[in-house]
Structure formats: C-alpha cells, structure tokens
C-alpha cells in the first residue's frame, strides 16, 4: 500500500492537476474534472489512489479553509472511488460515463449526512432540492466528460507508466 518514489511523484502531479483543473473550470458551475481524475487515479493506482485523492482534499482545505463543503469532501469521493476500484477491468467508455454521471446526479444526496448534522432535516431538504438543477448539470457534464476523455486518458496514463523507469 506504500507508494514508491516514482508513484509518489506521479500522484503529487495528478493531485495538483486535479486541483488546478477544478480551479480553471470554476467559472462553470458544477462542471469539473475532479470526478474524471478520481476515476483515473483509481484505475491506475488501485487502493493507493487514496493518497492523491486526499492530497487533493488537503489542497482544497488549505486554499479555501476548513468549512462545511469540504467536510463533505472528506468522504464523498469514496462514493466514486470505491465503485471505480471494482470496475477497473471494465474497458468501454459508456460504463465509466454512467458511473461518473450517476455520481454527479447524486452529489447533492450524498451531502445529506453533513447538512443533516449541521441544520437538521429542514436544511437537508431545502438544500438538496434547491441544488437539484446543479446536480443535473453535474450529472450531464460528468457523463459527457467521462465519455469523451476517460478511455484516452486511461490509455495515455497506462502507456506513460509502462514506459517510465522504476527508481
């Protein structure tokens, strides 16, 4: 489970790219490359993907401070990474697009534990319902991004890994 030096370097770059990609796309509400990157990191590194995922979460907290929405980040990416881990042998584009799309659609629902703990049921229901249009955008954009980019990027990362020299 411990990454070697080469993996550590790659994971740091991928975590930084994930954060940078999110910041670059911040003007487009709920259209983000994070879900794609989480799935890619999981298929490439398996369980070790937890390292870059939590480096990304840490970057979020360092830049934006520790608050309600990044409390959600402590667990929410696992709802994507765990299914992705079991789907690693799957090669087609459609299954990955479906996984990413479903995660986007259900993002608001997955936030319920934190909002429930903070504001009770009233806050859960009003926050979730008012966020539905954004969950729909999130789901559709995640689906399209994964459909277009997951397979080529997975091939690229696998090729780069097989080419690189082990330190």
């Amino acid at each position: 489970m411990k990454p070697d030096l080469r993996e550590l370097t790659e994971m740091s770059i991928l975590a930084a790219l994930t954060f940078g990609g999110k910041v670059a796309m911040a003007s487009l509400p709920n259209i983000e490359p994070v879900s794609l990157m989480i799935m890619l990191m999981t298929v490439i590194y398996g369980r070790k993907a937890l390292y870059p995922i939590y480096v990304y979460v840490m970057l979020e907290m360092l830049v934006y401070g520790f608050n309600l929405w990044n409390l959600v980040y402590l667990y929410i990416w696992l709802f994507l990474a765990v299914p992705a881990y079991f789907m690693r042998p799957v090669q087609g584009r459609l299954p990955w697009a479906i996984l990413s799309g479903a995660f986007g659609l259900l993002f608001g629902l997955l936030c319920i534990p934190v909002y429930g703990a903070v504001g009770g049921w009233h806050m859960v229901i009003s926050t979730w319902i008012s966020g539905i249009p954004y969950d729909l955008v999130h789901g559709v954009s995640n689906f399209l991004i994964a459909l277009a980019a997951f397979v080529p990027l997975r091939r690229l990362l696998e090729k780069l890994r097989s080419r690189s020299v082990r330190v």
Binding site: P29, N30, Y64, G92, L94, P95, I98, G101, A102, L105, L106, G108, S126, T127, I129, S130, G131, I132, P133, Y134, D135, L136, G139, V140, F143
Partner: protein, 137 residues
C-alpha cells in the same frame, strides 16, 4: 459474443436507470418549487450597508422572483452557485466572504430568508432587506 451482448445490455439498462433518476430529480424540483405570483406587484428592498447606512428601494414589477428583480434593476450582482444565486454586490458595495467573512444576508418580511434570491417568490407588498453581515467566526 453472447456474453458481450449481455454485458452491453446491462450497461444500456444502467444508462436508462440514470436517465430515469435524472427525470425523477427534475420532477421533485419542479413539483416542490414555490409557485410565483403573476402580474404587477409592489415590493420594497431595504439595503443596509457596512457603515449601517440604510437605503430603501421601491419597485413595481412583473418579475416573479427576487433574483430576477435585483438583476433587472441592477441593484445587486451575484454568482450562480450550487445552492442558487449567491449575492456578491449590492448598491455598489461588495462583500467578499473569503477575505473577511462578509456576505449579503437576505431577509424576507423581517425573517431570514430560507431560499436563495433566485428562488424567493415576489408577492405584492413584500419587504426585503439585504444586510451587509460579517461572520463572527
């Protein structure tokens, strides 16, 4: 070949399930959305600035939601966020939460609004307040 066909069918069913979930979400949103009152109404918006100075604005409008009115009258500017319209600037004064915890709090008829401005329905005689507020923490 047959196994591949079964797998493809499985993913096709998953895709259909995804579309059904999206449709259910859209239906929940549309059914629970507050119904807007049509026609002209008169509403007032009180702005309380950081220096506690107050300004009242009265509008006669056909708009259905407060967010539309604030943007149409150029009284406020906002960003679209996951939770609806987030007001950043009112009557020329900017609140930047990231630097000092400041934000524009919205009150509807004296009570803290439970919806974002873009979901707050306008009724004749409504009184809104936009108050420059600093998070104590």
């Amino acid at each position: 070949m047959a196994a591949q066909k079964t797998t493809n069918r499985k993913w096709l069913i998953a895709l259909i399930a995804l579309v059904v979930i999206a449709a259910i979400l859209a239906a929940v949103y549309l059914i629970t959305r507050p119904n807007a009152a049509e026609g002209e109404k008169t509403v007032t918006v009180k702005v309380v600035h950081a220096d506690q100075s107050e300004k009242d604005f009265t509008y006669e409008t056909d708009d259905e939601y407060l967010g539309e009115l604030l943007l149409d009258e150029e009284l406020a500017e906002g960003e679209t966020s996951e939770y609806g319209m987030y007001i950043t600037k009112v009557d020329g004064e900017q609140a930047v939460f990231e630097t000092d915890g400041a934000y524009w709090a919205l009150y509807e008829n004296g009570e803290y609004a439970s919806t974002g401005a873009d979901q707050t329905v306008l009724d004749d005689g409504d009184e809104f307040s936009l108050v420059y507020t600093k998070d104590a923490s």
